[in-house]
Symmetry: C2
Subunit: 525 residues, 2 copies
Amino acid sequence: MQKKIMLYDTTLRDGTQGEQVNLSAEDKLKVAHRLDEMGITYIEGGWPGSNPKDARFFSMARSVSFKNAKLTAFGSTRRFGVTPENDPSIQAILEAETPAVTLFGKTWDLHATEILGVTLEQNLEMIEDTVRYLKKEGREVIYDAEHFFDGYKNNPEYTMKTIAAAQAGGADIMVLCDTNGGTLTHELKAIMDAALPQISLPVGIHVHDDCGLSVANSIMAVLCGASMVQGTINGYGERCGNVDLLAVIGNLQLKMGYQCIPCENMKNLTDLSRFISEVANVPPVNQRPFVGKSAFAHKGGVHVSAILKNSRAYEHIDPETVGNRRRVLVSDLSGKSNIEYKTREMDIKLGEAASDSAKIVNIVKSLEDKGYQFEAAEGSLELLIKKITGQFREPFALESLRVTMEKDGDNDSTSQATIKISVGDEKEITAAEGDGPVNAIDNALRKALNGFFPVIGEMKLVDFQVRVIEGADGTGAKVRVRIESRDSNEIWSTVGVSENIIEASWQALVDSVQYKLLKEEKNRA
Amino acid sequence: MQKKIMLYDTTLRDGTQGEQVNLSAEDKLKVAHRLDEMGITYIEGGWPGSNPKDARFFSMARSVSFKNAKLTAFGSTRRFGVTPENDPSIQAILEAETPAVTLFGKTWDLHATEILGVTLEQNLEMIEDTVRYLKKEGREVIYDAEHFFDGYKNNPEYTMKTIAAAQAGGADIMVLCDTNGGTLTHELKAIMDAALPQISLPVGIHVHDDCGLSVANSIMAVLCGASMVQGTINGYGERCGNVDLLAVIGNLQLKMGYQCIPCENMKNLTDLSRFISEVANVPPVNQRPFVGKSAFAHKGGVHVSAILKNSRAYEHIDPETVGNRRRVLVSDLSGKSNIEYKTREMDIKLGEAASDSAKIVNIVKSLEDKGYQFEAAEGSLELLIKKITGQFREPFALESLRVTMEKDGDNDSTSQATIKISVGDEKEITAAEGDGPVNAIDNALRKALNGFFPVIGEMKLVDFQVRVIEGADGTGAKVRVRIESRDSNEIWSTVGVSENIIEASWQALVDSVQYKLLKEEKNRA
């Protein structure tokens, strides 16, 4: 039988301590549902004593029943000088009404004396009687030994006394934390080997990525005997972040034979990563192990020609195992293999293959020189290839475009666009308003085209990104606009580049609409 | 004496195989200079046989003398059926005229037979005679044993035969590569322990981050006896990237007593990371260990109040050691400690401290709810706090703003802005053109203000970022604009939020100008 590892997710608490990670109480509930479906064992919902949002989350969560996960509320040992009964933040933990609670206590002598300002003995009492009180109140108590490894390096004897205090209080699980993320993998192993014989409870590990070692440290802890791993989805968290649970799952479950989540959920790892990134509104890290957009992206010509023969040549696992996919990038490092793979993927017929591929490679390289990037705008790339090979004719042409934006004093601004297009011999002129100039153009373009191509009513713009290409020219710099659009069965991306953000947006918008019309043509064919 | 580790940087070759990483030959030369100044031992400049850009880089580099680093040219063993003398890509390596060359050969039997399509014996000959030829031509030969660990797992005997062939040919350094990035740290140790006794040369390690273990694997290899680490700055590279040399340096040099670069250069690590990110035009990863913008950023209230007492409480090293800095973030997780730290940092006097801080926290939280983010816009935050506490009065007011953008057919678009402002009782109306609407507003605002505040002539906009806040509304979504400005002694960032990109840009521009005027006021005081 496979050894089971309990996963403990703290995206909703430690994760939101990461820079730019903000989740509303409603967002948190959405995330908790997804984590539950995924098969996560414990979900730390927040710190009810520290802010009203977390308290509100727990009050909403009370009416929810989770299929797999236990919800936990987080907090610290009681304050000095009060009993747990009289400590409002301990009471807030109880009011969260979760089956399990997670209590952190000071393990490093420096923290007890300098940060809390209590004696070493008083800290031990605060640990033991808070744990005992929460047990008496019927909670499962997960004890987070904050700064365990730093404490052990500084004063191993005292550190182990704090562990003994939590055990004496009745804790259920003992979590060893590398709170500052400064512990090296071989140090972690040496400390765990020395400490584990003195711990009679199941052990967990909680690490941060300040040395870039969080995944290695979590795996090492499991090899040393830990049966719980705490972390966050996408590695969000204070400073460099907590360990990324997705990478932990990928390694433990696919490569080491542990069971973290049900096997059938492995293929949802990539979706989960993207979902959390979207809810948190943090741009995804493309290089993220296992689930990143680039994790199985091949750019060098040698790599591409090899994976066409056998994908194991440059892939450590099959990307589909984790719901990711292989991508071949077209750039100035591309050889003909890249273009040929790509055109096959897009189902484009090349004429006399060698000369067509060479022509495409040249045009792509020269546009990339000007700031276009087709790696992330495959809709524009497909249109470009079809135009180059004479397989697509532009369905409409711009005659003229006027955009105005007006603002008076502190009032809201207004935006209008007037557009004139031609479709064959027919011309159409129309105008529209919008929330901003790009939205006004989008509305006007759809209005103008609607009579000719009603099918564009099915498509919708879902994302709009702007990136300044040359970092040094302020508002006069070139910008690249990337638009993501969708209809009921596909998402596609297009790109535009100009010194004028409106013009760059216009190019990407036109490509987006043309791509939709191209799809229709294919469907009719 | 400290043990010296040779650093081998492949940002210019393997790094550019990363998605969205593109460097011109001129960029590469700039990067090589910085790496040389930093004290990197070897700089791999490119693969001259694979693309004309790399060949051009080497021809430019010929006239450059590096202080510390040796430049290397990269390539593969000769093709089957030709001698090295007759293989154009081997000749291209020689034409690069570098003191050292890096040759990769197939170590994994699967690659020899399935990808190259040669027999195992033929592959050994290709390795041995290519190395011998390059040695005869007077080059130092660094041999990259591609897929060493995968090869060893599959067929250890054959793998070691390929190593023996490179040794027999006369290679100077033997680099063991985890090309696919799929090797776990304990597997890497076991394989190195078994293989090293059979290798008589200095050993290097080259790993990728597909399992999130690249830093741990590089450190483990050094502990096993490797004396060279290959990697890239910021971990750029194929798929999930190569190991990030900056994290390797941070750990080996600050925590393990090895010498990688001269001690006095440690404080330049953060600058190097940002420089490479800027040249490559890839947005920096804030969570990056040691050098990321968030690496020493504290958000949770408990963390902030603790580091005010002793920064070791939540920092594994002093950020200044690597040229980074401590940051306290203000967000909805902030307590009064965060605001008080921040105002002290900004040298703002709070009136009756408790009530001012509470008021500021509330306004910040409500604006962040609407999409503002002050973590990365400290100029706007300082203005906001000074406005809330009555320490800053807006120096000018907008009366009206009109922006137009016109485009006819395929011609370039034109943009114009008309602006009317008031300064006290005086009014000024003016107009300007620009490369796009935001640039036109920027130009018009400066023109209008110039007579009143000539000091704004000193400031310059250096970056302009746009981010869509709500992912699901396409061009009608809210956008956040962030502007970075500088004068001769400071860089500051400001933010604007609106559904209208022009309006959001306007807010950020106004804050940027007001911040400059605020600085002037402070200087005069």
